[in-house]
Amino acid sequence: MKTSNSKAEARLTASSPGGDALDAVRKGARSFLPVLALVVLFAFFSIMRPTFLSVASFQNIMRQGAFLTLLALAGTTAILTGAIDLSVAANATLGGILVADLTGSIGIWPAIGVALIACSVVGLVNALVVIWLRVPSFLVTLGMLSVLDGISNQISGGSPIEFPTGTLSTLVNEQSIPGVPNAALIAVVVVVIMTVLVFLTKLGRYIMAVGGNERAALLAGIPINRVKISSFILGGLIAAIAGVVFTGQALNGVPEGADPSLLASIAAIVVGGTALSGGVGGPHRTLLGALVIIVLSSGMDIMSINPYVESIVYGLVVIAAVAVTIDRRRYGAIR
């Protein structure tokens, strides 16, 4: 009796310092793990397959990385506010389909304009439903995902859309800087703009505040609904850019084309160290995370690993990254 008691007490006293240590590990992991993962993966694949270090392989990483980075950036703003936008990939698909469908009739630039506006409106609708009907963003955007797929298929009739690709291909695939496809430049520019927006503007601070503690944000007088709406519209806008890049790389409009990348984009966000619980991380981290995922993916390609295994790896990476980054104090049962 006595021994069992003292054991129970020992376990109790051990539990809280253990929790603090875990917190410290988590904090350190958030900052350094993505960089470490990138270095280790790079070294590993280079040793296993020296062709991994070839120019072709690098250009492949930049091409795929550009699209994934943009898609993941589109999801980042919502996640920073503590919400999630599962419709970003379907929204990007819609943007890409619109460009392919409209370029022939109204020209490439107006078509891109329409895509930007349409995808932003999708973001706005997501936010309004979340706010007015008080439905969790997770469910609203899951529904929206299905709606957008329906619309994209309706527009395309279910098959790829051919269109005059000349200007778009130049815009996305040419190399304004030798060796670097324009898509990668576009992605870097958007990363820089978004990073400045999140860290150096009032809206950015408000986004982080709403994600960090929504109640505190409200009591500090922050217009939290406007902040949420802005974050979803920004997500829609960037999803459109991702869709344009996707269509420019595929060279036709593919229904459900960007959809399979949803999980990889969320993986990129959390691997970069942005917490799904909100208020921690940022667009610059998403770039890092996207690089980790792309290096992992093209490394596995070069090693001829079965694509089904790749899917398993993504799933495990997401779960592991969430376990490392999420703030458990938000969830009452733990602690």
Binding site: A8, L12, L200, R205, A209, N213, L219, A220, G221, R329
Partner: protein, 517 residues
Amino acid sequence: MSVTDTGQAGGAAPAPALDCVGLSKRYGAVHALDQASLRIETGEVVGLVGQNGAGKSTLVNIICGVVTPDEGTVAIHGKPVPTGHPRAMSEAGIAVVSQEQSLVEQLTVWENIYLGRELTDPRSGLLRRAAMKAGAAAMFTRLGIGIDTGALVSDLPFASRQLVEIARAIHQSDGKAGAILVLDEPTSGLSPRETEVLFSLIRQASGGATFLFVSHVLPDILSLCSRVVVCTNGHLVADRAVGDVTERDLHELMIGRARSTDYYALDRQGSAISDDLVLELTDGQKSGAFTDVHLTVRHGEVVGLAGIIGSGTSEVAAAIAGALTLDAGHLTVGGQTRRRWSVHDAIALGIRYLPPERRRDALFPHASVAHNIAISYLGDIRMSKAPLLDGGRESRLVSRLIEQIGLRPPDPNRMVGELSGGNQQKVVFARLLADGCAVAILDNPTRGVDVGTREEIYAMVRELASTGTGVILTSESIEELIGLSDRLVVLRSGAVVTEIPSPPQAKPTELEVLACM
């Protein structure tokens, strides 16, 4: 423990139902409970009284296993129980009824009564619904509770739910010999008639069960309990039979030792700078919280809202800050009148709010000190030519405020979640200081803050008032309210009962204020 064991072996007097020895709990530098020992014999009804923040809740939470004490042991019927395990405490016979109800609203009364201890048919494993319904109904009849046991809990008024909650605790204890019921403020929110029903329940049950009854309502304690224990500043300072004490004695015991006047920087207490009102709340009404509250604040005046938990002080503060929407009434600040206003509108009127629970209501734990402070001043630190924040302006503002609040260490880049409670509260305070607000609403600014920081916060309150800001203050400590305020407004059950002037040369005593609450 060994003494108890030999006592039992010898067949002498039975072990007490509840025996707490040397319980201590610190939160940071604050001693919430210091070497508290409490012994309750089987079948006793013991009252526990004390001011807000005196340590009652900590003691109750330790007994329930929700809080793990730093030191001390708890034994139930002579057997030590591991602290910090709600389940172990409950299995040993502790049942709790608190203000925060634990009923499942979507279930019926009888389902709640049997929740977690459902009767099942041993062969099929199915629920014996009829038996449970009948059991609950029979129990309610026996106890004289006139509530339909088939009703949904969500359809019952608050008071009935409280009775169901108590009935459930009694039911839990029915099967077990020597249950100990902890009633934490069970009568707040109950009418006198409902309180009477509750008391008769307790008297009926107390033949077998043991009760610890925590209440602010001293007449209730005196009419119900056989013994009363007084908790003051984390110590159990008195343990008396009810026949030997009066309400007045209890008030005096609850107050504890006096503090020196310079603790509250009384020499720096000004009074209202002018007779012009900076804020006036007229006929403020919020259902379930307060009615017909009229409140005025002058420039430079500190107005203390006094009242026990649930009296409406915190709600009035939140409503003025825009965090609660009034059902009726209007607010006038600096000549502008509003009938409905948000937090955002209140800020535009010059009202700044320090909410009661900084971790829940005010802090962004993963953000830096600088970002936590600057969040209230982002409009002021924008660059003039671009829509970007000016890092230089921000760091100048933040370091000025960090110096003003005396943050230690004065590091703007530390994550706020890592700071001590006192430092965190200073960071929240910094949000009020930079722009000379018209009114500052401070809801419990010293909660969970060490003694040193308390004094610094008192100085900051004085500083704010001296610049002409009108201050509305609430506190768990009456002593502190008297020390800081120029005028006290006393609330009871959501209504203003009286106003007491509190100038530095003629402070009211705590006894006078307590008597009004």
